[in-house]
Each structure stands twice: as C-alpha cells, then as structure tokens.
C-alpha cells in the first residue's frame, strides 16, 4: 500500500495552491464582506483547466484522476469554501453525472464545453419544500411530443445566476421515488428565471440562488437517463458532490490548523507565546487528528472511484467526518485567536461561518448518520446501477480520442 502521492498529484496540488495564494487569498475577504462572487473566479478556474480537471481529454477535460479532483478541492477550500463549491456543483454534481449517465451526444453537446470551461454548470435538486426529502420534490416535467415542459422552483442552488447549464430533477410520475427524472437544462431558455439569495451566514463570496421554471420547453434529448431514473441519478450525483465536499472540508481543517499554529507562535501572553499553554496545544492536537483522518478518508474514497468500485458508503463517511470536524476545528481556531478571532481581521471567523453550510448540504450530518447505521445494521444495501462512474484508465483518459 503506497500512501505517497505521485509526483504528478503533488505538482497539481502545488499549482492550485500557488493560484489561490497569489490570486484568491489576498482579495477573498473583501468579496466575502461584499457578499458577492468575484467575477474573476470562474474565468480563471476555466482558463487554468481546473473546471475540467478529471474529465477525459476526449471530452474536453485535462484527463487527471479522481484523486486529483480531491486534492484540487482541498486546496481550493483552504482559500475559501466558495471556490470548492464551484467544483462541487460544476464537476461533482453535474459534469460527473454526464460522464456517468450521458449519451455520447449529450457528452459532446454539454460535457465538452463544461470541461473546457466554456460553460459553467450547476445542480437543481433541492426545492423550497424539499431538501433531505428528495422524494418530496414537486417540480414537474410533462412529456409533450418530442419535448418536455418543465415547471417548478429550485432553491439553494449554487451558481444559479452564474451557470449556463443546470442538471434538474423533476417529477414525471406520481410514485415518490420512481417518478423522478433528470434533465439537462440550458438556463437561457424561455421561461427560466434565476436570482440570488443574500443574507447567508456563510459562503458569502459565492453565488447561491434559485431557479424558477415556467412552461420551459426542452427537447427530449435533454433527458439524462430514463424516465423514472431521476432518484437513482440524483443519489449517484451526490456520491460525487459529497466527495468534493469531503476533500474541501479537509482543506478547511488544514486552514484552521495553519492559522492556529501561526497565531500560537505570534501571540504572547503571560510572558510567553501562547503555543506553550497546554489547552491551546490540545486544540491544535485535535485539529491535526481531524485533518489527517479526514484526508485519509477522502483519499480512500477517491482511490475507490479510480478503481471503479462503488463508494457510496465510503464517500458518505468521508463527508460526514470531514464536515463535522471542520466546524469544530473552525470554532476552536477562533478560540485560539481569542478576541481577534471574533473579528474579520482574521480569517477564522469566515472559516466557521463557511463550515456550517457543509454540514447541511449534500446530505445533512444526520442523513449520513442514518446511512452509516443503515449499512452497519444491514438495513441498507447498495443496489447496482445501470450506469457506473467510469473507473480511471490513464491511457483512455489522456488520449485525444
């Protein structure tokens, strides 16, 4: 078992770290204060190829593996969670779903421009009245001849106002689980309206919004998978979105740890640096433990994706652990900083506000607890999927096709 990262993985991680250190970290606090997404973020991530990092070259991507995606997410969130959210929705929830479930035609039409960064993508599952209760989705898609007509509201959608493509899950039949279907929606279609949601506790430098669909006509070719497969597709999307959240939260723990170590060396009290006090040391020790454990959990999940192994359980475990731990780490990091941690002069209060989002979205911590108990007690088993996430084959993925 080789726990070392390959040279390639290390270089990818370093490159993204350089990008965030030079271009993002110096300005992100300002954008967080303004509660606005910086206009340069998406274009720069597109330009650098980050938006297609783990999509095969033949589909417009950079041809790296799922581990690279995790490492990139760790680095992005160490700067600010909102950057990793871009990867969660554009790549995890949307692009990887196209890779897994899309027809060749759909991949050519939608995945290629997304992987190239020409189009940004988001994921429309949640509704004002349905979050954890996915089967409670009310938005509808009615088959009319060669088209579907979409009606409904989606809410808490990251990049709603910034993306051009959305993957939406709507009701095509009555049955709670078997009545859902997934669709690719171009957000410039007639009848689509989007807007931003403000006043969030955290993720303020990001874009969160709503999508409203009123009699939106889309060709039948925009349907992803079969009618009635929407629930299964949504769950598999979450396997990938959650993976990016787990990796990102790991980066957030690392950011809390580094900030705390730096402050513990720099601040003196009672004639010595506060790192000398045991209760400060304890907090830092727990951050180290959380960081290393979270890291191993998400890398293991990424490795399984590379192998083509079903990883719903392992990814859920990684997401639950890392996000809960990042919330604790951020709270303790503020404590280490004392009064200064309470001010936005330092980054740690922003880490805390951002971390709270991650324990809610992509499956609340409570949902994950139920999942893990379900697996352990034998109440829950993963059924095979009609389409599996492709395993990583270096030759195939790196070839121009």
């Amino acid at each position: 078992m080789d726990f070392h990262l390959s040279e390639e993985h290390r270089m990818v991680q370093n490159m993204v770290r350089e990008f965030t250190q030079k271009e993002v970290i110096p300005v992100i606090k300002e954008w967080d204060r303004r509660q606005e997404m910086a206009p340069f973020i998406l274009p720069r991530m597109a330009e650098l190829g980050i938006l297609g990092i783990n999509i095969p070259v033949r589909y417009g991507g950079q041809g790296f593996d799922y581990l690279a995606l995790g490492l990139v997410c760790e680095e992005l969130e160490a700067a600010d969670s909102t950057l990793r959210v871009v990867m969660s929705v554009h790549m995890g929830l949307n692009s990887m779903a196209l890779l897994q479930w899309g027809t060749e035609e759909q991949k050519k039409k939608f995945l290629v421009p997304q992987a190239k960064g020409e189009k940004a993508a988001c994921f429309g599952l949640t509704e004002p009245g349905a979050g954890s209760d996915v089967a409670g989705i009310k938005g509808t898609a009615k088959r009319v001849g060669d088209e579907y007509v979409l009606n409904g509201e989606k809410m808490w959608i990251s990049l709603a106002t910034k993306a051009q493509h959305a993957l939406v899950v709507l009701r095509t039949a009555e049955d709670p689980h078997e009545g859902l279907t997934a669709f690719i929606l171009e957000l410039d279609r007639k009848g689509v309206k989007t807007g931003d949601i403000h006043g969030k506790l955290g993720m303020r430098a990001g874009s969160t919004g709503w999508i409203s669909m009123t009699d939106v006509h889309i060709p039948a070719g925009n349907r992803l998978g079969e009618e009635g497969e929407g629930f299964k597709i949504a769950m598999s999307c979450l396997d990938n979105g959650r993976y990016t959240v787990a990796a990102g939260a790991t980066g957030l723990i690392r950011a809390c740890l580094e900030a705390s170590v730096k402050y513990a060396h720099g601040r003196t009290a009672f004639n010595r640096e506060i790192g000398q006090f045991q209760l400060v040391q304890q907090k830092i020790a727990y951050m180290v433990q959380s960081y290393e454990a979270a890291r191993l959990l998400y890398l293991r999940a990424g490795w399984m994706k590379n192998q083509g192994e079903r990883n719903t359980r392992e990814t859920s475990l990684a997401k639950w652990f890392a996000t809960d731990a990042s919330f604790d780490a951020a709270s303790e990091a503020i404590q280490v900083h004392g009064a200064y941690g309470f001010s936005d002069e330092y980054d740690v209060e922003r880490y805390l506000r951002n971390s709270k989002g991650a324990v809610i979205y992509e499956g609340t911590s409570e949902i994950h607890q139920l999942m893990q108990a379900g697996y352990a007690l034998g109440y829950r088993e993963d059924a095979d999927l009609r389409c599996e996430l492709p395993s990583y084959d270096a030759e195939f993925w790196q070839a121009a096709g």
Binding site: E8, L48, Q62, G63, F64
Partner: protein
C-alpha cells in the same frame, strides 16, 4: 532557434535557516525552484512564443535539482538537462559560470537566460561571469525585451537600474538575467505537469561538457546565525495623534536619526 534557461534548486524562501555543525539546514521546508528563475523561464517562454524557438532548461546540481527542472518543463520548456558531477560538489559562482558556459556552447543557443540571483547564496554573479567567459554581451536585470531580430542577430532590452531604466541593444548570442518587473511567471499547466512527470531528464557530466573540474576561488570558512538583534521596542502612546507624534519626534531627535 534555441534558448537556454538556467535554473537552480534552493530552499523555500519561507524556510527557517539554521547552522548545524557547519552545515546549513532548513528543517522540513521544501526545496523549490529559485523564485527568480521562474521569471527567467517565463521570459524564455515568452520569447519562444513570440519569435519561435525551443527552450531548454538546465540546472547544475544533484538529483534534487530535477524538481526545479520538472517545474520548468511543466511551465512549458521543451526539454530539461541536469548537469551533475561528483567532482564539483559545491562550486562557487566562477566555477558554475565555467560549467554553464560550456553547456551553452554545447547546446548551441543564441540566448541564455538567468534569474537575477539565487536566493541561497545571493551572489548575482553567475550571469555576468558566464557572459564574460563566452565573450557574449551581458544584459542583466532585464525588465522588458522590446525587440529580437534573429536574422540581424540583435536584441533590445530595458534594464532596471537604480536610476530607472536603461535601454540597451546588444548583438546575439547574449546572456540575459531577468529582474522582477518582467512580468509574473505562468503557473505550470496541467498538461505541462503531465508531460513533466513523464519526462526523462538526462544528466551531463563534466566529461560530456568537455571541461575539467574548474578551480574554486572563494571559500566559506564559517557560516553562522546572525546575532539576535537587541530590540527593546517602545510603544508610544498618547491622548491625541499630535501628542503621540510629538513624543515620537522627541525620541527620534534624541536618537540622532533626523
């Protein structure tokens, strides 16, 4: 048209440096490509893109120098070569210049580019020394390259000097060293990273360069940590900005620095 760029592997600039039994140590800090050399690689790549040509990255060092070379490859250099020989464990600037001059000759380049200085020894001597050995114009501290004519064999640069900028025209082949004003170096691209990690980096020995081990002229009998600065900082306080300013000026006048 070939361009060479010389890079060095050095401890990260944020590293805590210490001396342990006469050897310099940098703890857990990583070895990185000399930051100034990234500007040199950027300049080489910009020139190759604009005027056509191949960029070869070279480094004089041990196996670890391959990391700096891989960074240069990932930024876009076409090839990388390590120069290594047990006969020259710690060359001084002059010895380094002799070796790099031989490499430039062997490659047959029309431009060889250095970073301003290496952040370990901080000498800034190697570029002009290499130019002198080759008999090529030395154009150091280049902030911009405004013209390059491969047919007329001339280059025009702006150099950053204390008093501002000096515009100099020189014949090719020439040696350049690049200052910071040149422009931010590009990140390694993902495709570049893939290429770099798969690349084979050949090693040239002194025999392959056709030169004997150069003499070392400068020796370092001692390396030590600087004595800690005795700073008793005084915080100046007061009820108004004017009061504070007044007190501070008093102190500065007493200290004789005004």
């Amino acid at each position: 048209m070939k361009i060479a760029v010389f890079v060095k592997q050095v401890p990260d600039s944020a590293a805590k440096m210490a001396v342990d039994n006469g050897t310099v140590t940098w703890g857990e800090a990583p070895l990185v490509i000399n930051p100034w050399d990234e500007y040199a690689v950027e300049a080489a790549l910009v020139l190759a893109e604009k005027y056509g040509g191949e960029v070869s990255a070279l480094s004089l060092g041990g196996e670890s120098a391959k990391e700096a070379l891989k960074h240069a490859l990932a930024m876009g250099c076409g090839e990388a070569i390590l120069i290594s020989d047990p006969a020259i464990p710690s060359p001084d600037a002059g010895a380094t210049a002799r070796i790099l001059a031989a490499a430039a000759t062997k490659l047959g380049v029309y431009l060889a580019i250095f970073g301003k200085q290496a952040i370990d020894a901080d000498t800034g001597l190697t570029a002009p020394m290499t130019a002198r050995l080759l008999g090529w114009p030395s154009l150091t501290l280049v902030a911009a390259i405004t013209q390059l004519d491969a047919v007329a064999k001339s280059i025009r640069v702006e150099r950053g000097i204390e008093e501002g900028r000096q515009v100099v025209e020189g014949k090719l082949p020439a040696i350049l060293s690049i200052g910071k004003d040149f422009g931010e170096p590009r990140y390694p691209s993902f495709m570049g990273i893939r290429k770099a990690s798969k690349a084979e980096i050949p090693t040239w020995s002194l025999a392959e360069l056709g030169i004997p081990a150069p003499e070392i002229k400068v020796s370092w009998p001692e390396i030590f940590s600087p004595p800690p600065r005795e700073v008793s900082g005084d915080l100046i306080t007061g009820d108004s900005a004017e009061e504070i300013a007044s007190k501070l000026v008093d102190k500065l006048l007493a200290a004789g620095v005004l």
